[in-house]
């Protein structure tokens, strides 16, 4: 307790940002909490034929149609197998300057973190699966786990995070 109080006091003088972390497979990611509008339980998703694989479909969000993106597919991890923990995080992202509401399907929502900007480490440019520009950086969470902080706007502005193979599949479909 004491240590926590001390930490909070320290927070006041540092550049603290709040992040929401979520799990995809074995890895943990986090997004700026300001982008998050809502967290929904999984509900039936209407599939849109001929859409790229990472587009899981659409759901009804208070009378509006909300596209849902499978973040695992987007990051090249293979489709999400739904469980009780599976969630849809509703985000407000800027795609090429336009505000777009969308949902991302994640394995589980973990926690809200307060992260000191000064402690964010740049992501290594070699050896990661993801293009460096989509990551704001890494943050050490405890002894040997890292959380990848996402540059969420950029991720949806392009089709290529790492997904060359989904693209070819898509092209194959059209010729079919």
């Amino acid at each position: 307790m004491k240590a926590k109080d001390q930490k909070e006091a320290e927070n006041l003088v540092k550049d603290i940002q709040t992040y929401l972390s979520f799990r995809l497979g074995e890895e943990t990611f986090a997004t700026d909490v300001q982008k998050v509008l809502n967290i929904l339980e999984l509900k039936p998703i209407t599939k849109v034929p001929h859409a790229p694989e990472f587009m899981r479909g659409v759901i009804n969000l208070r009378g509006n149609v909300l596209p849902v993106i499978d973040m695992r597919v987007k990051f090249g991890m293979g489709k999400i197998e739904t469980s009780v923990d599976t969630c849809i995080i509703v985000l407000n992202v800027a795609i090429n300057g336009e505000e777009v509401m969308l949902g991302i399907l994640v394995d589980a929502v973990s926690e809200v973190l307060e992260i000191d900007e000064n402690l964010i480490e740049p992501s290594p440019s070699i050896g990661t699966r993801y293009k460096a520009e989509f990551l704001k950086g890494m943050w050490r969470n405890g002894e040997d786990s890292f959380i990848m902080l996402l540059n969420i706007d950029l991720i949806f502005s392009t089709d290529e995070v790492i997904m060359l193979q989904t693209k070819t599949e898509e092209a194959g479909e059209i010729v079919d």
């Binding site: 587009m55 659409v58 009378g63 509006n64 596209p67 336009e98 777009v100 010729v175």
Partner: protein, 684 residues
């Protein structure tokens, strides 16, 4: 202040559009005083507003323009082509002036100066040249509008004290129209008792004026309260026009010091009877010319944002109502069911009413076409009359906005290729020298049709065919039906024009027209008869945001097929469909190609034993869509799928179903088009 200026701009733009429309009307009916009157009034409002909000250029400009029409109004000038030309140019000029800022002030001011010189030329050159016909018309007009008033004016004794002069007021009265002024001497005392600073006189005035009672009262606006002023309408007609009456009247007034109004009324009645017969005659004439004199506009200006909000809410209400209906159906509650049905009825009503708010008459776009034809007639040297029918037909505002360009293009084509190049050519074919282009709008079912018809050369089918073969679009051995041949016109890069003019014939045209109209969920067709003319028909939905559809299911996905494209539904054993040769199924003894949506959309689950085929019309052919099951009829509120779905344009959007899940709305035309394209790709 900025906000007010914006408001004024909005209003001014409307006024300018009105002006444009009026001037075009005036062109067809140059002697119609009432249009001139309206033109004048519009300019006047424009001038007033612009001066108030600091648009000095518009103020100066309209002032001069107004002078022209003032002269026309007074009969000193006649409406000529030249004046109409200038006014129409002025309309364009005004549109630029509205955008007046400090930055472009100098530039606009220079343009303004040039224009003003032109206007002044017009003002100075024309001397009155009035034809007989016109004179008669004018006379009738004056009699019709002019009413007769009786005014009794008794200034108070201290009338001169504040510097007023009753004679000036009488002068003002006489300016309003024709007047008979009879002085009243009864209050004048004996010479010895006269105080020179007091006013003892009174006047009775019989005034005939078209200005109305308010204008008369305005004359006396600054007189003090102790003066006695009485204004009464004697008759709705001009009594003074009758000379004998005038004489009797003056005598009566002179003899009787204080006039009994009743006596005057009885005097007028005989005359009115005679006049009323003439009156009806005149009225009949003027109603035949079709211009209502009192055009009161009873409308409210509402920002389109508010409207959009309202429509969104109603859309949500419709969605919720569908949920309620579903719930009521499932529960069979004797009390709930009638309530839910009642709500359904009201919601439908509300929805229709709210959506109709967004509808505006087609007349709103017609002015631009009229203008276009006028300009093209001059440029091309073709004499063409533009006729409109059904301009009161209402369409969604968004549709109208998106429709202007395609229709402009169609009209341009008609003017350029349709109407014959020379009058001789027309006359030789037994047609009137003046070409005709007809714009016709009408409702049919849940659609609006817009037709543009010209009585020109028509399109030579053989020529289209030749051209298509030449361009390698079709191979020489292909046999095409009449409609298929005409549809070639809508292909990109296709034009039959021999030479490229600056108007059309660049080959970017009908394909763009077709695409734009497809974007509106509409269809476009050409019908033609060689030597007689062509008709382009555009078929459009009434509104873009609600679709009457057939709710169907494939696997666990619901889809809505717009009802207007559905023709019939058939039931088949799965094996039959599976073994159908070349995907052709037998529907009512006709062989119809079917698209298996289950396969096409990559659904992996096994199909049901019995499948349904929905047939729809596509380019005069029937095409079937194989689905699992028909759920029912459904009114879909169309919601966009959003920017995240880019390549899925065979869905026009999605809609929320009663149970809260999402159904996809199919765009059958796009689907078939895409399917056909892929098939060809595989074949070739």
């Amino acid at each position: 202040m900025e906000a007010f200026r914006e408001k004024f701009k909005e209003e001014a733009n409307e006024l300018i559009s009105d002006l444009e429309q009026l001037v075009l009307q005036l062109e067809g009916n140059k002697t119609d005083q009432s249009i001139v009157e309206q033109v004048f009034r519009v300019m006047h409002s424009l001038k007033g507003g612009s001066a108030m909000f600091g648009f000095t250029l518009i103020d100066q400009f309209t002032h001069l323009l107004e002078n022209i029409y003032d002269k026309i109004r007074a009969g000193e000038l006649q409406v000529t082509e030249d004046i109409l030309d200038i006014t129409l140019n002025a309309v364009d000029h005004l549109r630029r002036l509205i955008e007046e800022t400090d930055a472009n002030f100098a530039e606009l001011a220079a343009a303004n100066k040039k224009f003003i010189v032109r206007i002044e030329q017009v003002l100075n050159q024309n001397s009155p040249k009035i034809e007989n016909v016109r004179l008669i018309l004018d006379d009738e007009d004056v009699i019709r509008k002019t009413k007769t008033y009786f005014i009794s004016f008794d200034p108070s004794p201290d009338f001169f004290q504040d510097g007023s002069n009753p004679l000036f007021l009488l002068d003002d009265l006489c300016q309003l129209g024709e007047a008979v002024v009879v002085p009243k001497y009864s209050r004048i005392p004996k010479l010895n008792d006269i105080d020179p600073t007091e006013c003892y006189m009174g006047w009775n005035v019989i005034l005939t004026t078209a200005e109305g009672i308010n204008a008369i009262m305005d004359v006396f606006i600054f007189t003090n309260n102790r003066s006695k002023i009485e204004v009464q309408k004697l008759s709705d007609i001009n009594l003074l026009a009758d000379k004998s009456y005038r004489k009797i009247l003056a005598e009566t007034l002179a003899n009787k010091e204080s006039i009994v109004i009743e006596a005057l009324h009885s005097l007028t009645q005989d005359l009115e009877k005679i006049h009323s017969e003439n009156e009806t005659l005149i009225q009949r004439k003027s109603s035949a010319s079709g211009h209502g004199r009192d055009q009161t506009i009873s409308s409210i200006r509402v920002s389109s944002e508010k409207l959009d909000d309202l429509i969104n809410w109603v859309s949500e209400l419709v969605t919720i109502q569908a949920q309620l209906s579903l719930f009521a159906q499932q529960n069979h509650d004797a009390e709930l069911t009638p309530i839910s049905e009642e709500i359904e009825k009201i919601t439908r009503r509300l929805r229709d009413d709210v959506f109709s708010i967004r509808l505006i008459p087609a007349a709103n776009m017609v002015t631009r076409f009229q203008r276009l034809i006028r300009e093209l007639s001059q440029n091309l040297g073709k004499d063409v009359l533009f006729e409109t029918k059904g301009t009161e037909t209402e369409l969604d505002k968004n549709i109208i906005e998106m429709l202007v360009d395609p229709v402009m293009h169609i009209i341009r084509n008609s003017m350029d290729h349709g109407i014959e190049d020379t009058i001789d050519e027309r006359v030789a074919n037994g047609k009137p020298a003046t070409g005709k282009i007809l714009f016709n709008a009408y409702y049919s079912g849940t659609n609006v049709y817009i037709q543009i018809t010209d009585d020109g050369k028509g399109i030579d089918l053989a020529k289209i065919r030749r051209k298509a073969i030449e361009k390698g679009i079709i191979s020489p051995e292909v046999e095409l039906s009449r409609k298929e041949t005409l549809d070639l016109l809508f292909l990109p890069g296709f034009t039959t024009a021999q030479s490229i003019t600056n108007l059309s014939g660049r080959g970017v045209g009908m394909d763009v027209v077709k695409r734009k109209i497809s974007d509106l969920r509409g269809q476009v067709e050409i019908e033609t008869e060689l030597g007689k003319g062509s008709t382009v028909t555009i078929k459009l939905p009434l509104t873009l945001s609600i679709i009457d559809g057939l709710l169907v299911r494939i696997d666990d996905t619901h889809m809505v097929i717009p009802l207007n494209s559905v023709y019939k539904v058939y039931e088949y054993q799965h094996e039959k469909l599976e073994h159908a040769i070349n995907n052709l199924i037998l529907a009512d003894d006709e062989r119809v190609p079917a698209i298996n949506l289950r396969k096409h959309f990559n659904f992996e689950t096994p199909p049901p034993a019995i499948e349904r085929v929905v047939t729809m019309e596509y380019n005069d052919h029937y095409i079937g869509l194989t689905i699992d099951e028909i759920v029912g009829e459904y009114q879909a509120v169309l919601k966009p799928l959003g920017t995240m779905f880019k390549g899925q344009d065979f869905f026009s959007g999605a809609t929320i179903l009663g149970d809260g899940s999402v159904a996809l709305v199919l765009d059958p035309n796009k689907l078939v088009e895409q399917f056909a394209k892929n098939e060809i790709k595989i074949g070739g």
